[in-house]
Structure formats: structure tokens, C-alpha cells
């Protein structure tokens, strides 16, 4: 009897186990539900379109075009007081290659570039995408890549005209996505600044041809995605930085002369552009919404708005550039709180990151013309400056000499484009050092610390980059 019971229970148990273990085992190896495979991401034109937008998602990188890169350039200029949060960046000499903001910017830029390279590689082998779309995607990828390189080369290398022919070291040019990330072939040396500019120029010229003038979506994509106007704007800026004023003028003109309805204009109030992100004053911005930056500490609005983190204050010097009684850029864009000045350009986490605005194009043209003219102040250039000033009710300027005109234009750029990531660049590209300001001592043009070090993380892994570290670091 007992033996039977043993046997019976053993048989019953074994049967139950066999049936149920097989059922349970299946549950152990479940396919992910929170992510897809690369093949899936390019399996249809619809999905490829979303993968194309993924490049912009990467452009929102919090350490780069999510807004921080604009701050890195501006805290090393003179328009803001050196914020302690971003120490040691504003202090120049105490920056080291193991400093985290620098590393974050470099990493953020190359991550975005990597996504563009990966996209170009993947989309080329996907099927069913119309040629026009392929062209557009290629243009977008090349525009985004160039935009990243533009900031990289100007942050980590001396300006274009530092040496004749720009033969000095730029940044590594990574133009394809590596399928073997640990391979030593990834240890790419720094190209010359000229080579980086050439690459950007070629990419942008290709992008200009391939990008549409608009996406038929004036309330989002026409500003949030790369357009022909955006490619031209970056080209104009690039030529200006090179000192190729004729081409800068040409490309500024291409934008200025864009036919309706794709033409650009200035809003009557400079504030409008920073509240309504898709007016025809904005040529290209990195779009943002609250979900992109949830709970963030990194958004422009967090750093600049005294109601938020508010760790970046506008400098007295910046404010003194304007006639505070009339200039809308003071009246509508500067606020005083707690005895300090703050910009109202950015207020929250939904603020788009402005990259190209129409007034910059007008000022690029003005600067190009001013430089192209012989000795006297170019009247068209003066007119352009005053058109930007007039929009904000500032009194016109009337410089007499070429030098005065250029000074006026550079001043106007500071006022108009302040806190939009041009602060330090405008000094360096025009052959000027950073003047002493606030508690910061003067930094001479061409000195070691006006450009950032290649991150130590990188030089530790690449012997060639170690040899190519910027002097002083």
C-alpha cells in the first residue's frame, strides 16, 4: 500500500513537473518590448523617416545642442558673469583635460555625428525609400554633422585664420560609422582646421542641393528640421569665419533673396522669436518640448532664468551696450531681479535652442561687405546694421571708417546674438583675445587656454591624439 503511494505520487509529480516546466521555460526568453532592432528601424519608409528624426533627437544631446554648447561659448565671452556652476570653463587657465564639461561637449558632439554616420550607412541599404527622400535625409545628416563639426573645431582648435592656410590642428574627422568600435583604426588623428572646414563646406554644398526649402509644415519642421536655408546659413557663417567674405556675402544673399513663401523676415518685437519658435525669423532651431527635458537641470531656460536655476547672469558690460531707455533688446529681453540682470530669451524647459536667426544673416552680410570694401564704411553694411537696430527701436549708427563699421557690427552681433553661442567665437575669429571682465583676467589671442583641451579620456585611448593635445594642457 505504502509503496503504491510512493509510486503514485512520484508519477503524478513527475508528470506535473514535465508539463509545467516546459510551459515556464518559454517565459524565460522573451523578446524586448522596450526597444527594436536596427533592422526593424529601417524596415519601412515610415520607420526610416523616424530614424531620420532620430538624428535630431541626438542633436538634443544635453551636453551639446540641447543648449549647453551655446552656454560653453558664452560663459567664455564677456556678455555673462562667470557662473560658478560652469567653473572652471569661464576661468580659462584652470580648465584641465579631465574637466567634465569639456569632455561632455566633445562626447555629445561626436555622439551626434555618430548617429548621422550610422543613419547614412543604414539608410543606404534599406529599400523602398524614394530618391527624393533619400536626398533629403542625406542633406539633413550632412547638415547636422557639419553643425557639430563647426562648434567642435571652433571650441577645440584655434580659429581658421590662426595660421596661413589653416594648417594648424583641427579635430578628428569621423565620416563613417565604425562597425568595430574597439579597432585601432578608430584612433583617428586630428585633421587640419582647413580640412575640417573643407569637409563642412562640401557637405553643406551637397546638403544645400538636396534639402528642401520647406517641409510644408510651418509650425514645426520648417524650423525644426534642416532646410536649404539652414544649410545656406551655416555656409554663410562658415565663410565669414574663414574670412571668405565674398562667399559669405553670396550665401547671406541667397537667404535674403529667398522667394516667398520661404523668405525670412524679422519679427517686429525681438521677444517674439523666443516665445513663438516657428516664425520666419528662425531659420533653424533645435526643437524642444517639456518631455525632451523632463526634470532637467540642463535646459537653457534653467540656467538663464532667475526663477529657475538661474545660475547665469548677464554682465553689466553687455547691458551697457544698449540704450536701455529705447532698445527692445533691453526692455523686452533683459530683466532685473535681485540686483542682477538676466536674459529673458530663455524661460523654461520647452525653449527651442536657436541656431540661426535671420538677423545674424543680415549682420553676416554687413560684416562681409564691410570687410570687402576698401577703406570707407560700406553704406549697405551700415543699412543692414541699422535695419537690425531699427527692429528693436535702437538709434541708427553712423560709423565713418571701415574699422568703426566693423566695430559697430561686432557690437551689434553681441547685442543681437547674445547668449546664442557666439560670445567667445566672435572674439577669436576676428583675431582678438578675450578682454578682462568681471573677475576674469585678459586672455591673449592665440594663447593656450582660449581653446579647450582634447579630453583626457580620448588621449588615454589614442596615442596619436595624445601627441596632438593642445599646448598647455
Amino acid at each position: 500500500m505504502k509503496l503504491n503511494l510512493y509510486k503514485r505520487s512520484a508519477v503524478v509529480l513527475t508528470t506535473i513537473l514535465l508539463v509545467s516546466t516546459t510551459a515556464c521555460r518559454k517565459q524565460l526568453y522573451q523578446e524586448p518590448v522596450d526597444a527594436i532592432s536596427p533592422a526593424t528601424a529601417f524596415s519601412s519608409p515610415d520607420r526610416a523617416e523616424k530614424a531620420a528624426l532620430g538624428m535630431y533627437d541626438q542633436l538634443q544631446n544635453i551636453n551639446f545642442f540641447g543648449g549647453r554648447v551655446l552656454i560653453y561659448v558664452d560663459v567664455r565671452g564677456t556678455d555673462v558673469n562667470p557662473p560658478s556652476y560652469f567653473n572652471p570653463l569661464p576661468q580659462f587657465v584652470t580648465v584641465s583635460s579631465s574637466e567634465s564639461f569639456t569632455a561632455g561637449a566633445w562626447q555629445g558632439a561626436y555622439r551626434t555625428i555618430g548617429e548621422c554616420n550610422l543613419f547614412l550607412k543604414s539608410v543606404a541599404s534599406s529599400t523602398g525609400i524614394p530618391q527624393s527622400k533619400l536626398d533629403q535625409y542625406t542633406g539633413e545628416a550632412k547638415f547636422i554633422r557639419s553643425l557639430c563639426y563647426f562648434y567642435l573645431v571652433n571650441m577645440f582648435a584655434q580659429p581658421y585664420n590662426f595660421t596661413a592656410g589653416a594648417t594648424h590642428l583641427g579635430v578628428p574627422l569621423v565620416l563613417s560609422y565604425s562597425s568595430s568600435p574597439f579597432d585601432p583604426s578608430n584612433q583617428i588623428p586630428r585633421s587640419s582646421v582647413a580640412a575640417v572646414y573643407n569637409q563642412m563646406e562640401n557637405d553643406l554644398l551637397d546638403a544645400e542641393n538636396k534639402l528642401p526649402l520647406n517641409y510644408g509644415d510651418p509650425t514645426f519642421y520648417d524650423v525644426a528640421r534642416a532646410t536649404r536655408g539652414a544649410a545656406r546659413a551655416l555656409l554663410a557663417r562658415l565663410y565669414l569665419y574663414k574670412g571668405d567674405y565674398a562667399k559669405a556675402n553670396t550665401y547671406a544673399d541667397k537667404i535674403i533673396n529667398t522667394a516667398a513663401p520661404d523668405n525670412y523676415t524679422m519679427n517686429p518685437d525681438p521677444l517674439t522669436t523666443f516665445r513663438t519658435f516657428t516664425t520666419r525669423e528662425s531659420i533653424f532651431s533645435v526643437a524642444m518640448n517639456g518631455a525632451d527635458n523632463p526634470n532637467t537641470n540642463n535646459a537653457l531656460g534653467q540656467h538663464y532664468n532667475p526663477d529657475k536655476r538661474g545660475d547665469i547672469q548677464v554682465s553689466n558690460e553687455y547691458v551697457s551696450l544698449m540704450d536701455q531707455a529705447v532698445d527692445l533688446r533691453f526692455k523686452n529681453l533683459i530683466r532685473t531681479q535681485g540686483g542682477s540682470y538676466w536674459t529673458s530669451k530663455y524661460i523654461g524647459t520647452n525653449d527651442w535652442v536657436p541656431v540661426f536667426r535671420y538677423p545674424e544673416i543680415l549682420l553676416i552680410k554687413a560684416e562681409a561687405l564691410a570687410n570687402l570694401s576698401a577703406a570707407i564704411a560700406d553704406p549697405i553694411a551700415i543699412g543692414l546694421v541699422n535695419s537690425v537696430r531699427a527692429r528693436s527701436h535702437a538709434a541708427p549708427v553712423a560709423p565713418l571708417t571701415k574699422a568703426d563699421l566693423i566695430t559697430a557690427i561686432l557690437n551689434e552681433r553681441r547685442i543681437e546674438l547674445g547668449f546664442e553661442g557666439q560670445g567667445e567665437f566672435d572674439y577669436l575669429r576676428t583675431g582678438r583675445g578675450i578682454p578682462a571682465h568681471s573677475i576674469i583676467t585678459a586672455q591673449a589671442y592665440g594663447s593656450n587656454y582660449v581653446i579647450l583641451p582634447i579630453p583626457k579620456y580620448e588621449t588615454d585611448k589614442s596615442p596619436i591624439l595624445k601627441q596632438q593635445q593642445n599646448p598647455g594642457y
Binding site: L28, Y29, Y85, L118, F182, N350, I439, D460
Partner: protein, 1067 residues
């Protein structure tokens, strides 16, 4: 009549015994010495023979014994006793418990074994050593208890986790936390319940959901011999938790009541109001000129007619009261036993506003319906509410805002608005102000340049008006069935569930700066569910054949699945500050000044599975020589298809030398066993569910849906493996008065699961790929000595000392990219060096001539920071280049991880009194004191009182540079803030009194004990911070940070000192 009968019976018995060669029947009852309860199952044997009987349910026995014989009474975990029969026929015996005896049962995974039979290294601690301590989770009580087990605390907020490292830090990018197995069921390996800010905000340790009072014992498997049966999860050691079971016969109700008062072991010593003004005005005058008006001035916000003076340390560090009450019931019959418990604890922490409330119930039931069936169910439910406070990761956190706050401004403002609830906060609403701490008449900028680092929040208002609560629930349960179809053979099936649910609720008030002010009030909620089921089927066989050949065998399978889901919801733009929860219609979802509704939901869902088969075969000859082999094959769904299976074998052997003729009966050495083990274990803890795959993830570009690459996978991803070897011995000396266990271990970790860093320029997500690359070694010794130091009359003194020494060396990293260091903060993994070695500038002190800070450059030359020119110079003032990262020097051999640690536990008893003094110690490590560097700054804030020693006049020799507003170059990472972390801590001093049984039985009690205890009584250390037992990055999102940056004190909350009065009563 009865009497007559009895006498004749006795006579009869007497005759019979005489007739049968003087044999007599001896009867009696065996009881426990401590509680007087009868003990069933005690073996009563006639010495020198095989004749023996067990005691019955009532502890009674009856044995036929020759007149001159001796009876041996033995039972697991009791001291054996020998009694000469003499002429007696009734022998009652009371056995003393022997918790460290060789018969103690150790959990070995899918079974248990007596210490004597174990060839591997397992540490054991009984539950009473744990639940007598006033801690929120049992892991905290393990500090100093076991050799080879290092416990470091994350800090003194309630429910803060510990880092437990068994024989060293064993991984770089993976988790180094051990596997926890409760009643045979592996627990979820996620340690933190909090999700906000990557879990760095209000942290709560999942282990706090286990009632320490339910723990019968904890066993820790440290080597491969013990661990390999857990294969891929055993590299970091396995912690077995065994909960209490009911005993046959003894029906009992026990009350356990603890009342405690907690206060910080030490508060930071900051400047008082007058010194604060002196220092901060000096900073400004040194930089901007002597004529600069004072920036720090008196004000009177609280309106008492006197300048405000606030001791923020006294406000944020409080004395908290804690009450912890448990009741348990247990009992049973031959057929069934049960243990049930309930606990209610309400704990206030040392930090302003911090509280933890826990309700726990458990039922453990065992049934033995027939001889061949044994089943059981264990079920525990926990409901906890953690009223959290923010600390070191938040500007508004108590240890940032609280430390930085000006001592010359009031915490409270009588003119505060209703919404401000009496706190001193600037502004009253979104339009009018900031929501920061009002700063009175102090001036915080000069010429537009801000003098402060970050604006200062009112820490008290943030703790009270904001909300950071966690409300976890946990069900830990398993059911099992044992079938014994043949003698020695048991078939077991066991199914267990670990279900964790948590509601994490954060509210930010619109009257406070930060999220609340920005979003017009913000509620953010996370709903988290972690479900893990585990199913085991195995057989065990244990039989001794032909008297000398003992064979043990275990084989089986285990399936485990884990699923985690979290859902996020938030609400902003509240209609009125009245609303502080997500209530329909009460909010717009639009932040003030914005027009767009924010996306207010989110979440994630992922799962993984583990499929395993295992076997263990042991053979013992003549109870002298034993050998055992274990083998496990594991398959983890997260790994690449090519390498999903890992195979983990181990072998162990033991020789009980004292059983040999030449030692038998030795007066000095009572017992000696030499043992060793060698084997392989694996680690996958902390590896993502889909770590091997290349993935694209949904990503948003503003309102547009997009996909972008989120992970570069590695199809070859597999187990991190560890080759562990261990040799050791166990010895008992001098009539078991001294027992020694010692081990030498060498663990080679290969194929490290490294988030191997990739050049940034390659541009892949996270610039890393999880790869099996690199190797590392942990080597060391551990020793435990238990002694009876003194035992005479009513007085006894016993002690237990353990010591561990462990050394780590990184052997290989990512060779393809030149074996470059892996860096986390100022610590590195560097080939040839111990893991987490510090690398930083060498501090050269303060130049007495000018008060400027100095460091050594790589070539040994001193470079000095000229505050005025804001440039580096040589000591003679001549120009030089700035310090660069090449000047950062390896601090050879200095890491944050202790290289030696242990505990020294002493128990003194006198009559009914017992005194316990437990000391824990650790050292050989260095702490990086970020608190100090942050509190000696030149920004306008309060400072550490040490700043009073600052340089003021030429020739002055000091270690604190001249003050110079806003210039914090002197505070950059350097050996200036690197300090030795050695300490010894009087962890427990407790005095107890156990009432006489006779006395308490009059009160209807079976036992009564009262005790008083001081926990963390005092600490001996040279560390200048408030507590050497800290690890500010124990909750870092990246395991690399946790494993490397082990010794950072970043405004960590000190441990509480706890005074406890306890009462334990049984009926």
C-alpha cells in the same frame, strides 16, 4: 493499593534488571538550559556502543543501560553532555546551547549541512545577533560580524542601503553585491526602490522590507565550494537568510518591544554668525579691496529685535524617537508546526522630517502528514512608508542647503505668508519672487558679479513643504513539497515569489524654488512593480553505506524570471496650492509662462530569465576524509546567443585530522579540520536585460516620434567568471574553549563584464559596450577566533574576534585601446594597481609668504596659484604653465576600500546580567573628503569652522590658503582632502537582565528580559569628517562609480547613535 502496586512494580523491575546482566531502564527528560523547555529529538546513546534512542515530543526518553555505563546526550546546536548512570534510574538533563559548535547547521544551497561536514568557507550568524540591533534593515547589522564580509554604510538617512562586499570588490562595471537567498528562494537583485534622479534622491533599501525579527540565521557562502551551486550568481558571494520556524510542542507567544532615541554621532562644526561675517567679508575685501563694503551683515528677519543667529546644524540634525514592536506566535505538533509574526515600527531619523513606518506580517507553516511527505508555506507581507528627505544630490537637500545657509539669517519669518507656513522664504508666489531662503541684508553680488555659488534654499521648508515619499509593498513567499520515497532520498519542488510594488510620490511646492516654482506646483509619481518568480525541482540523497561510506547527492533544476515595470505620471500648473496630488481637473499640465502641455507620463518594461541545472556529489570516508564536487549550468536571457550558457564547476575536500589516531584524545586539540576548495563562479548582476543586443529606442524630437540607436550590443557577451580558491582550517582547542577558523583565498576574476570605454569620436551610445574584457584579483586571509576567556561561578566572559585582510589588483583592462585607465571621479581602475586607486594632484601646502595654495607638478616642481594674476607661477613667482591632468599622480596603493576590517564581540555574564560590547573596525583605506573641500570655499556661504585657520599674514604657517572671493582653485581635487579612513567603532554596548524563571512564572510568563543598549556609542578615528563609515556613491547609477568611488564623503549623513530600551517577554 496504588502504592503497593508501585512498590511491587519497582521490585519487579529491580529483579528483571538483576536477571538481565545488571541492565536497567533509565528514563528522564531533556530540557534546554536557557528556557527550560523540553527538547525533542535529542540522541541518548550509551557511550561506546551503537545503542541509542531519541527523546520524544516532550523531551522524554527511556533507555536500557548497563549499570556502569555512561549516557551521551547530543543534539545539533547543543553542547553534548555525558552522564554516568551509576545507580540511578531517572536522569534529567539540561543541555546548554552551543551556537558555535561544530554541529551547527549551515545552509549550503538546496540543503543544509553540519559545520563538521562542510569543506568550504561559510560564515554563520544567528538571528539574535541581528534583531537585537536598532537598524532598519538586517544588512546594517552584519557589520563586523563575519570574517570576509565587509559592510559599508551609505549614510544615516533612514533605510539607506549598505554596500556588502564579500572578499573584496569583485567587479568593475557590474554589481559587486552578493546574491540574497531567503528560505531557498533568490531575491530580486535590485537594491533601491527609488527611481527619481536615477535613484539618487530618496533612497530606500529593498532589504528593509524584511523583518529582522523573523531571521533565524544568516549564512554567507564565500568560496567556490559553497557558491558554485549558485553558478552565475555566486561570484559576489551568496547570503542565505533563514526565517524562523515553529518547534514541536513548545507553544509560545513572544513580545519584543524596543524604544530608541537616535541622534547623529557628530554634527559638522560650522562657523557661527560672527565668524561667518568675519570670514565672508574678508574673502571679498581680499579680492575687491579693503574699501569694499561688508557683504555679510546682520539682519533681523525673525523680528525679535536682535540680529538673527541660526545654528542650522541643530535644526537639520535632530534627536529622533523610534518604536519597534514585534509579536510572534509559534508552536506545533508532530504533524505540523507554525511560526507567525507581526511587526510595527515607527522610526524618526536624525534628519529633520525623515521618517519610516513599517508593518510586517509573516506566517511560516510546515506539515508532515506522513513519513514520506513534508510540505510548507512561507509568506511575508510588508507595507512601508518612507517619508524621505533629500540630501547630498540636491541643492535644496538638507546637507547642501543646510550646510551652506548663512547663520545670520533666520529659518523662520513671522511675516511669512500662509503658504510659506512660517518659513523664511523670499517672495510669495510665482510672480513675485524666487522661493529661496531670504538672505536678509546680505549683499550677494559685487558689480554684477554674483558672490554665491548656488542660491541657497531654506532646507527646512524644502523638507516640510515638499514631499518625497516611497510606499513600497513586498510579498515574499514560497511553497514547497518534499517527498521521501526511499530512505535517504528526498524529492523537492519549491516555488517562490518576490513581488515588490512601490508608489514613489514627489511633490514640489510652488512657493519653493526649483521644480515647484517652475511648474506652478509639480507632482511626480512612479509606480514600480518588480516581480520575480523562481521554481526549483531537485532531489537530495544522503546515506551512509557499510557504516563508513557516506554518500550525498543533490541534483536539480531552477527557472527564474524577473520582470520590472514602471509607470510615471506627473501633474503641473495646479489651480491652487491646495492641491498636492494628481486630482482630475486640478491642474492644467502647463508650466507658468509656457503654452504647451507637457507630456506627463512615461515608463519602461523589461524582463529576463535564468534557466539552470545543477548537481552536487559528496563522499565521506569514515567521517575523516571528504570530497565534494558541484556543478551548475546557467543560461541567462540577457546574454548573446553564442554564449548564453555558463558552466560552473567546483571541487572541495576536507580532512578531519583530529579523527586520526595520532590526535584522537589529544588534550589540547579537540578538533582539527583542514579543508580546501577550488572552482568557478559567475556574475551577471547589474547587467541589463538586453545587454547583448544592438538596439534602437523610441525617442522624441520635441513632439515628433523618432527612433535612435540606444545601445551597441555584443553577441559574444557572457558571464564574468571568477576562479576562486580557498584553503583553510577549523580548530577547537582546550576543551573547545577556543575555536579558530582561518582561510586564505585567491579569487581571479576573468572576462570582466566591463562597460568598456570606446573613444568618444566613434560616436556610439554611451561611448561604451558591455564586453567581457580584463581581469582582476582579490587575495587575502580571514580569521575568526571564538574564546571562552573566563568562566567561573556566576561570571563568564566570551569573545569573538574576526579579522580580514584583502588586497585587490587589476591585471588587465581594454588592451586594444592601450589598457587605458577607467576613471570615476578621482579614482581609477588601472592595470597593476588596486581597483579604485586615487589619482589626483599632490598638495604642497600653503606658501607662508603669500598664503597661496601650492601643488607638486609631475616633475616634482612646486606650482603656486597666484590669486591676483589668476595664473600659476613657480614658487619664486616666475611664470609657468598651468597644472594639467599629466600632473595628477597615482596615489599608489590608496583606495577607498578597506584592506582590513573585522569585529571584536565580547559577552560578559554575571548571574542574570549580560553585557555585550561589540567593536567593529576597518582601515587601510583613504577617504576623499568632498564635504571639506565644499565647505572651505571662497564663495559666499557658510564654511567649516576650520577656515578660521586661514592665512592672514606673511610668515604664517597654516594649511588653509588666504581667502579670496570666488577663487576656489585651492579646492580642486588634490591630496589636500585625502585622509586616512581607519576607524574602530564601539558599535554595540548593551546590558541585559533576564529575570528568573520562577519569578516570572508567577506573572504568567515563561521568560522576561529587559535590556538597554547604545548603538554606535563612539568611534576612534583620525578622519576629520563627521563619520568615517560613509560611501556617498553607494547609490550611483553606474556600477563603475559604486565599485571605484568607494571612499567619497560628499556631505554624507552620519550614522545615528541610538539609545535603546528593550523588553522581551514570552508566554
Amino acid at each position: 493499593m496504588k502504592k503497593l502496586l508501585l512498590v511491587s512494580l519497582c521490585f519487579l523491575v529491580l529483579c528483571v534488571t538483576q536477571v538481565f546482566a545488571q541492565n536497567r531502564t533509565v528514563t528522564g527528560t531533556v530540557r534546554g538550559q536557557e528556557d527550560g523547555q523540553p527538547i525533542p529529538g535529542v540522541t541518548v546513546k550509551i557511550k561506546g556502543s551503537d545503542v541509542g534512542v531519541p527523546t520524544d515530543v516532550n523531551g522524554k526518553y527511556s533507555i536500557n543501560a548497563p549499570a556502569g555505563s555512561t549516557l551521551v546526550f547530543s543534539f545539533i546546536s547543543y553542547v553534548s553532555q555525558e552522564v554516568a548512570v551509576g545507580g540511578r534510574s531517572v536522569i534529567n538533563v539540561s543541555l546548554a546551547t552551543n551556537k558555535t559548535s561544530l554541529n551547527e547547521v549551515l545552509v549550503v544551497g538546496y540543503g543544509s549541512k553540519a559545520v563538521r561536514d562542510v569543506n568550504s568557507s561559510i560564515s554563520h550568524v544567528s538571528g539574535d545577533k541581528i534583531n537585537s540591533q536598532p537598524v532598519e534593515s538586517f544588512d546594517k547589522a552584519l557589520v563586523g560580524k563575519m570574517a570576509g564580509v565587509q559592510v559599508s554604510s551609505g549614510g544615516g538617512t533612514l533605510g539607506e542601503a549598505t554596500n556588502i562586499r564579500i572578499r573584496g570588490v569583485s567587479s568593475i562595471s557590474s554589481s559587486s553585491e552578493p546574491l540574497y537567498v531567503i528560505d531557498g528562494i533568490p531575491m530580486n537583485n535590485a537594491r533601491n526602490l527609488s527611481l527619481f534622479n536615477s535613484g539618487q534622491g530618496t533612497r530606500l533599501n529593498g532589504l528593509a522590507l524584511i523583518n529582522p525579527d523573523d531571521i533565524e540565521s544568516i549564512d554567507v557562502a564565500k568560496d567556490a565550494g559553497a557558491g558554485a551551486i549558485y553558478g552565475s550568481r555566486a561570484s559576489n558571494g551568496v547570503v542565505f537568510i533563514t526565517t524562523k520556524k515553529g518547534a514541536k510542542g513548545a507553544a509560545r507567544v513572544t513580545f519584543d518591544v524596543k524604544q530608541s532615541w537616535v541622534s547623529p554621532v557628530k554634527r559638522p562644526d560650522l562657523l557661527n554668525g560672527d565668524d561667518f561675517m568675519t570670514i565672508n567679508n574678508e574673502k571679498v575685501k581680499n579680492r575687491f579691496g579693503a574699501a569694499t563694503p561688508d557683504v555679510a551683515v546682520n539682519s533681523d528677519i525673525d523680528g525679535d529685535g536682535k540680529p538673527d543667529r541660526t545654528d542650522w546644524m541643530k535644526l537639520i540634525y535632530k534627536t529622533g524617537f523610534q518604536t519597534d514592536n514585534s509579536v510572534s506566535v509559534q508552536g506545533g505538533t508532530d504533524k505540523a508546526t507554525f511560526y507567525g509574526s507581526a511587526r510595527y515600527a515607527d522610526q524618526k531619523g536624525i534628519l529633520y522630517g525623515n521618517g519610516l513606518r513599517t508593518v510586517q506580517v509573516r506566517m511560516n507553516a510546515d506539515v508532515n502528514p506522513t513519513k514520506f511527505l513534508h510540505g510548507g508555506l512561507q509568506l511575508a507581507y510588508t507595507n512601508t512608508k518612507d517619508v524621505g528627505v533629500l540630501t547630498n544630490n540636491y541643492l535644496a537637500g538638507l546637507t547642501i542647503a543646510g550646510y551652506n545657509a548663512f547663520p545670520t539669517v533666520a529659518a523662520y519669518n513671522p511675516n511669512a505668508t500662509t503658504l510659506q507656513q512660517g518659513f523664511n522664504i523670499t517672495g510669495t508666489g510665482a510672480k513675485e519672487g524666487f522661493g529661496y531662503l531670504g538672505l536678509g541684508n546680505n549683499t550677494i553680488s559685487i558689480g554684477g558679479t554674483s558672490l554665491i555659488g548656488n542660491r541657497i534654499n531654506n532646507p527646512l521648508a524644502n523638507a516640510i513643504l515638499n514631499r518625497n515619499n516611497l510606499s513600497p509593498e513586498n510579498i515574499l513567499s514560497n511553497a514547497f513539497l518534499d517527498i521521501k520515497p526511499l530512505r535517504g532520498l528526498t524529492l523537492t519542488t519549491k516555488f517562490g515569489v518576490d513581488l515588490q510594488r512601490d508608489f514613489e510620490d514627489q511633490y514640489s511646492s510652488p512657493v519653493l524654488s526649483g521644480l515647484g516654482f517652475s511648474y506652478g506646483g509639480l507632482v511626480q509619481d512612479y509606480y514600480l512593480t518588480r516581480t520575480q518568480w523562481d521554481w526549483q525541482n531537485y532531489l537530495t540523497f544522503d546515506r551512509t553505506l557499510a557504516e563508513k561510506h557516506r554518500v550525498t547527492f543533490t541534483a536539480g533544476m531552477e527557472y527564474q524570471r524577473n520582470q520590472t515595470q514602471n509607470t510615471y505620471a506627473s501633474a503641473e500648473g495646479f489651480a491652487d496650492p491646495f492641491y498636492t496630488n494628481i486630482i482630475d481637473g486640478a491642474y492644467s499640465g502647463i508650466a507658468p509662462g509656457q503654452t504647451e502641455i507637457d507630456l506627463a507620463s512615461g515608463g519602461d518594461l523589461y524582463s529576463n530569465g535564468l534557466e539552470s541545472y545543477f548537481a552536487r556529489l559528496g563522499y565521506t570516508f569514515a567521517d575523516k576524509y571528504s570530497i565534494e564536487g558541484a556543478y551548475r549550468a546557467d543560461s541567462f536571457s540577457g546574454f548573446g546567443a553564442n554564449y548564453r550558457w555558463g558552466k560552473f564547476p567546483s571541487v572541495s575536500a576536507g580532512w578531519i585530522v583530529s579523527e586520526e589516531e595520532f590526535l584522537k584524545g589529544n588534550k589540547v586539540i579537540n578538533y582539527l579540520k583542514i579543508r580546501g576548495s577550488y572552482g568557478k563562479t559567475g556574475n551577471n548582476a547589474g547587467i541589463g536585460s538586453y545587454a547583448a543586443r544592438t538596439l534602437y529606442s523610441g525617442s522624441l524630437y520635441a513632439n515628433a516620434n523618432s527612433f535612435s540607436s540606444s545601445q551597441v550590443g555584443n553577441a559574444d557577451l557572457r558571464w564574468e567568471s571568477q576562479l576562486k580558491s580557498d584553503v583553510g582550517f577549523n580548530m577547537s582547542l582546550l576543551n573547545n574553549r577556543i575555536t579558530v577558523a582561518a582561510d586564505y583565498f585567491n579569487n581571479n576574476i576573468n572576462g570582466l563584464l566591463l562597460n568598456a570605454p570606446v573613444l568618444y569620436t566613434v560616436g556610439i551610445p554611451n561611448s561604451s559596450i558591455t564586453t567581457n574584457i580584463g581581469s582582476m584579483r582579490n587575495r587575502g586571509i580571514e580569521i575568526t577566533v571564538n574564546t571562552v576567556n573566563f568562566r567561573r561561578g556566576d561570571f563568564s566572559w566570551t569573545s569573538s574576534l574576526n579579522y580580514t585582510h584583502v588586497k585587490n589588483k587589476v591585471l588587465d583592462l581594454v588592451a586594444v585601446t592601450g589598457n587605458g585607465d577607467i576613471t570615476s571621479n578621482a579614482t581609477v581602475a588601472s592595470v597593476g594597481r588596486p581597483l579604485g586607486e586615487y589619482k589626483m594632484y599632490n598638495w604642497a601646502g600653503v606658501d607662508p609668504a603669500n598664503g597661496y595654495p601650492m601643488w607638486y607638478a609631475a616633475n616634482g616642481v612646486i606650482k603656486e596659484w597666484n590669486q591676483v594674476t589668476q595664473k600659476y607661477t613657480l614658487k619664486d613667482g616666475s611664470a609657468t604653465t598651468a597644472l594639467t591632468s599629466t600632473d595628477q599622480a597615482y596615489q599608489e596603493g590608496k583606495t577607498g576600500t578597506p584592506t582590513w576590517y573585522g569585529g571584536f564581540d565580547n559577552t560578559f555574564t554575571y548571574k542574570n546580567f549580560d553585557l555585550n560590547v561589540g567593536i567593529t573596525y576597518s582601515g587601510g583605506n583613504y577617504l576623499y573628503n568632498i564635504t571639506e573641500s565644499g565647505m572651505l570655499t571662497n564663495t559666499f556661504q557658510n564654511n567649516d569652522a576650520r577656515i578660521m585657520r586661514r592665512w592672514t599674514a606673511p610668515g604664517q604657517v597654516t594649511d588653509i590658503p588666504r581667502l579670496y572671493s570666488l577663487d576656489n582653485t585651492a579646492n580642486q581635487t588634490s591630496t589636500r582632502f585625502l585622509e586616512k579612513g581607519d576607524y574602530a567603532r564601539f558599535k554595540v554596548i548593551s546590558l541585559g537582565y533576564t529575570f528568573d524563571k520562577n519569578m516570572v512564572s508567577h506573572w504568567g510568563l515563561s521568560s522576561l528580559r529587559v535590556s538597554a543598549q547604545v548603538y554606535n556609542a563612539f568611534t576612534i578615528t583620525k578622519y576629520s569628517g563627521i563619520d568615517p563609515e560613509v560611501s556617498s556613491y553607494s547609490y550611483a547609477p553606474a556600477s563603475t562609480t559604486v565599485n571605484l568611488s568607494t571612499g567619497y564623503d560628499n556631505r554624507a549623513v552620519p550614522q545615528p547613535r541610538t539609545f535603546t530600551l528593550a523588553l522581551n517577554a514570552s508566554f
